[in-house]
């Protein structure tokens, strides 16, 4: 029977025919596309594997950047401080801008080099403790610039129990002194013991030996180091630390000590530190006492904090005491006489961490001077401060 097609139905016939033909051809066209996509994915995976293995491959020499054997990191911190008080003029300044640069090179699994440099400029508080014998009143200085090598050591590890370092680095005394990275502190500039004169030598220099051991699920460790006393650089001092931490570092307890010479004799510094970390709650507490002749300046603080709102916000309160009986210096002002003070700082604040590596802080501190030297020659030392700061680690 001959095929008859009505002319009026021709457009519909062509439409259906082209759809059917298209359907027949479609798999043939799609198949090579999927295959090539698969090949492309494999290619990309191989490239990724190659890059990762290159990055992980042990090298006999140091290569620059983007290589596991050389790490570059650091931090930047900027702060804004407002102060006011009965005998302190209301003033505000961008008081600190600090850039820290870290470079570490791993030469083998047991030899590496670690370094850190701080550079920055600031407008620090002049005559911070409002000493009436000083030539200037409490206030922000014009401009200060500084650069400091805070770490630089070559490390050789004989395993976890024995690591020896030669060079200089943060002194392993308590918690804040050895973790003195500005961006790590929940309050701007950290606790008072970092700013109290004559407590401990802040850097070890020469040799530092440390190690740690398992004790069931707990750990304990030791540090032993030499250092150059700040006021008597002619004979090295020695220091040590013993610490213990429970499983998952929920409780960490440390005991530290330092022995060094001074112009007139010798001193001993002792300290203890406690950290409780039951996420999201944590408490840090530290105590340091410096023993020298009849003087014994000391400082202690307690700082509970809690993370809220998906760990983006951290609320803290603190109490921080310093009995600085050997204080002499007040920033750029040269004081020849002792200016002892006892200060209780207390306050609260908020950290906002939009990412793990960025931190914005807002804090309030009342600086309450106590004892006979709280008011000197009619000048009240008390004041309060608001701080705003931002820090980034990279």
């Amino acid at each position: 029977m001959p095929l008859r097609i009505d002319a009026s139905r021709l457009p519909a016939f062509f439409l259906v025919s082209s759809f059917l033909l298209g359907s027949l051809w479609a798999p043939a066209r799609a198949e090579p596309t999927l295959e090539s996509l698969g090949r492309r994915i494999e290619e990309l995976e191989k490239q990724q594997e190659l890059h990762l293995s290159e990055a992980s491959e042990p090298k006999s020499q140091v290569h620059a950047f983007l290589n596991d054997n050389l790490t570059l990191g650091g931090f930047y911190e900027t702060g804004f401080l407002v102060i006011d008080g009965d005998d302190t003029k209301l003033q505000a300044a961008n008081n600190s801008n600090t850039l820290g640069l870290n470079i570490a090179a791993e030469f083998s699994s047991n030899i590496r080099f670690v370094s850190q440099i701080w550079v920055g400029f600031s407008h620090p508080l002049q005559n911070e403790h409002n000493d009436p014998t000083a030539t200037t009143e409490r206030g922000f200085e014009r401009f200060n610039f500084g650069a400091l090598l805070t770490q630089g050591y070559l490390e050789y590890s004989l395993g976890r129990a024995f690591v020896v370092q030669a060079g200089t680095g943060y002194v392993p005394f308590g918690y804040a002194l050895q973790q003195r990275e500005l961006v790590q502190f929940v309050r701007q500039a950290g606790p008072q013991l970092l700013r109290t004169n004559n407590l401990v030598s802040p850097l070890w220099s020469g040799i530092h030996v440390h190690g740690s051991f398992d004790q069931g699920k707990n750990d304990w460790g030791y540090n032993f180091y030499t250092f150059t006393p700040v006021f008597y650089p002619k004979q090295p001092g020695v220091g040590g630390r013993l610490w213990w931490s429970s499983a998952d570092e929920e409780v960490t307890l440390g005991l530290s000590s330092q022995l060094g010479k001074t112009e007139l004799g010798s001193y001993e510094a002792v300290g203890t530190d406690l950290r409780l970390d039951f996420h999201p709650f944590s408490i840090k507490a530290e105590y340091i006492r410096h023993l020298e002749d009849d003087e014994d300046p000391w400082s202690a603080y307690l700082e509970p904090s809690v993370f809220i709102y998906q760990e983006e916000l951290l609320l803290y309160v603190f109490g921080d005491y310093a009995n600085s009986s050997m204080n002499r210096a007040a920033s750029a002002v040269t004081l020849t006489e002792l200016d002892p003070y006892r200060q209780l700082e207390y306050g609260a604040g908020l950290n906002w961490l939009p990412t793990s590596f960025t931190r914005f802080r807002f804090g309030f501190t009342y600086h309450d001077y106590l004892g006979k030297t709280a008011v000197q020659e009619g000048l009240d030392r008390d004041y309060f401060s608001f701080d705003l700061s931002a820090g980034v680690a990279f």
Partner: protein
């Protein structure tokens, strides 16, 4: 009383289920590695780079998993017992103080397996259902 019993049973079941979920991980190491099992404490020490060598002196290469992978989520919860933020803070501190950096994150299982097989001291973690091919072997994580 019945409601209380039901609630207790339900909560216990939920806790057990959560615990079981968090235990579904295994460690993979290079096939030449003589170890047959590993404790959580050892894995933690290796991950934190407190220990950088296997007992026979082979340099350790720990490969982490991708940030959003279910394996990493389980690993942080059941082995490290830390949140991702806590670990980030730990590595910031380590990088600034001791120069140590976090283990390299690696995505798919096949890629992890390939890298671990390439390095004698290679190590990573996979889901317990992972079937290894040549080059790697699975170590069960022992301990709580």
């Amino acid at each position: 009383m019945k409601t209380l019993t039901k609630t207790v049973v339900l909560l216990t079941g939920l806790c057990l289920a959560t615990g079981a979920l968090a235990q579904k991980l295994a460690v993979i190491v290079n096939v030449s590695n003589p170890a047959s099992s590993i404790t959580k404490e050892q894995v933690q020490d290796f991950y934190y780079r407190k220990v950088r060598q296997w007992p026979d002196g082979t340099a350790l290469r720990f490969f982490d998993r991708g940030e959003d992978s279910p394996e990493r989520s389980d690993f942080l919860k059941s082995v490290m017992k830390k949140t991702a933020r806590q670990l980030d803070q730990y590595w910031i501190s380590q990088k600034l103080v001791s120069g140590a950096s976090a283990p390299t994150p690696v995505g798919p299982d096949r890629l992890v397996e390939s890298l671990v097989s390439r390095f004698p001291g290679g190590m990573s973690y996979v889901s317990e259902s992972f079937v290894p091919s040549k080059g790697v072997k699975v170590l069960k994580i022992t301990g709580d």
